[in-house]
């Protein structure tokens, strides 16, 4: 597919616990960096539309959130829409922005995401975090979000021999990467021993298998491919994208050791981009839990089904590996501000492909094709996008 859309700017707030910043101010941080990242400059009045991904920031401003974000950064009057697909909200906001440009309706569009999770009490957060799974049965069984991924992990270990140690290796790798990312929530390396011996949350997953709760915002600037060079000499092109959905409850799905929504999304994205999985040079995948990254390797075709554990163990997803995965630190260590995660992944791939990451030590060498994999809830939704320079 000929690229019809380009990414020409990107910004991201610091991820973490932003005690002194509201969701508006976090979005402003991302927006200002986005504007400054446009090499040849951008007049804000050139922006036609704003798509904002958000789960709902813990109940704060459930309605009209996108208009609020737009007016706060000086874009009142613009076409603004909030996209909600749980943890994949801004992955889908990005795709809606692409569709808006491809339709011919708009030329210059912002896709972003925001979430403020640390402001809410832990009791309220527990209510909120469960809302993207199946409420009537899974929740009534006392199931938690970690529990859903744990029950996938248990069966994955049973069917394929994936080990407890391999799960922890994902956490160790992503912490190591985040150590080099000034915008990550955690900038501490951890040992395999520490990761393996952390307290159990939902057997077989322990504390270091789980991503944190995070405040953060991200935003990227998209435009019609023909006008990309007006903004920068080095645009990143959208080569293809795909989405998928699945039953919300695990008990309704064909399988729990794979996320069918992600498989569908990846298949479509590869087809549109005209590439094979092994052509991917660098990827940001949705590692809300360590098992999710292992399953993502398989769903994305980076390795055979059941070989995800071996893929991490053999270092194939490390900085020096075949396909470096989550050089940002991933959801696990960069942080997971739900609605902001998808375009936060695009922010990382944009900078990796343009060789503009903040610390050169985190810069992947000679990457031309990048991929983002953003999953909603326990796999009810998924969005995959392929980028190229």
């Amino acid at each position: 597919m000929e690229s019809k859309v380009a990414v020409v700017g990107a910004g991201q707030s610091k991820y973490g616990e932003s005690v002194d910043k509201s969701v508006k101010e976090l979005f402003l941080d991302a927006y200002i960096e986005l504007i400054n990242s446009v090499d040849n400059g951008l007049e804000p009045r050139e922006i036609n539309a704003v798509y904002i991904g958000s789960l709902g920031s813990g109940g704060f401003q459930l309605g009209n959130l996108s208009a609020l974000m737009a007016e706060y950064v000086g874009l009142p009057g613009v076409h603004a829409v909030r996209i909600e697909n749980a943890c994949s909200s801004s992955g889908f906001a990005f795709i809606e922005a692409c569709l808006a440009i491809m339709s011919g309706m708009y030329d210059v569009v912002i896709a972003g995401g925001v979430e403020k999770m640390r402001d809410v009490s832990s009791l309220k957060a527990k209510y909120w975090l469960g809302v993207s799974g199946d409420t009537e049965y899974e929740r009534l069984a006392g199931m938690t979000f970690a529990g859903l991924y744990a029950i996938m992990a248990n069966r994955h270990m049973h069917d394929y021999g994936t080990t407890r140690e391999q799960l922890s290796m994902v956490a160790v790798k992503n912490h190591k990467n985040a150590f080099l990312n000034p915008k990550a929530q955690f900038q501490n390396k951890i040992t395999l021993e520490k990761a393996m011996n952390s307290p159990m949350v939902a057997y077989p997953l322990n504390l270091f298998d789980c991503c944190p709760t995070t405040d953060g915002a991200s935003a990227v600037l998209l435009c019609k491919a023909e006008i990309a060079k007006k903004f920068t000499d080095s645009p990143v092109y959208v080569a293809g994208f795909g989405t998928g959905t699945d039953y919300l409850a695990l008990h309704d799905r064909e399988t729990i050791t794979s996320l069918k929504a992600a498989v569908l999304a990846a298949r479509e994205a590869y087809k549109k981009a005209g590439i094979k999985p092994k052509d991917v040079d660098v990827a940001e995948v949705h590692d809300c839990f360590t098992i999710a990254e292992i399953i993502a390797y398989e769903d994305l075709g980076f390795c055979e089904r059941g070989e995800g554990g071996k893929f991490i163990e053999e270092g194939l997803s490390s900085m020096e590996g075949e396909i470096p995965v989550n050089l940002s630190g991933g959801l696990k260590a960069k942080g997971h501000p739900i609605g902001a995660t998808g375009t936060g992944q695009v922010y990382e791939i944009f900078n990796q492909l343009r060789k503009t990451v903040q610390k050169p030590a985190r810069q992947v060498k000679d990457a031309e094709i990048g991929l983002t994999h953003n999953v909603g809830g326990s796999g009810g939704t998924a969005a995959v996008t392929v980028f190229k320079v």
Binding site: Y127, T135, L140, G142, M200, Y203
Partner: protein, 143 residues
């Protein structure tokens, strides 16, 4: 802050108390929990009620740790510590999620035979919610 409101709960009493599923009159598939359109043929809205035996096999499970439970389960957790949530393949076909009871987390295995029993799930808004849990079938305890 009731997560599942009383009215929402009440509408699903036949499933929760009696394990009543809906058999598709077109393709015979048993839909449990019910779907609007048959999950198998994706065409039919014509169903007949069928009561499930409640016998099944554990497909996978997790043990929810102390302090990690949703708030409405915190009382159970306070008295019992951890608890097990399992995906159970019912003998009639459907897979369902529920807690295990009458066994210790360490005794649970994938492939274990279980049967449904009616138990207290939790109390919220001053209303007790009953529903099914699964306990090990006798042959497993003896052998």
């Amino acid at each position: 802050m009731a997560y599942v409101s009383v009215p929402l709960y009440k509408r699903t009493i036949p499933q929760r108390y009696g394990l009543v599923g809906l058999r598709c009159k077109k393709c015979g598939w048993i839909n449990f929990p019910p779907k609007g359109v048959c999950k198998n043929c994706k065409e039919s809205l014509d169903f007949e009620k069928v009561k499930l035996s409640g016998k099944g096999t554990i497909y996978s499970y997790t043990v929810i740790s102390a302090a990690a439970a949703p708030p409405e389960f915190s009382k159970q957790e306070k008295y019992g510590g951890t608890y097990v949530v399992a995906l159970v393949d019912l003998d009639e076909g459907p897979r369902i999620v529920a807690q295990l009871t009458d066994c210790k987390p360490g005794e649970v295995k994938i492939g274990m035979r279980v049967k449904a029993v009616l138990r207290r799930i939790y109390e919220d808004e001053g209303v007790i919610r009953y529903g099914f849990k699964f306990k090990p079938q006798e042959e497993d305890l003896n052998g």
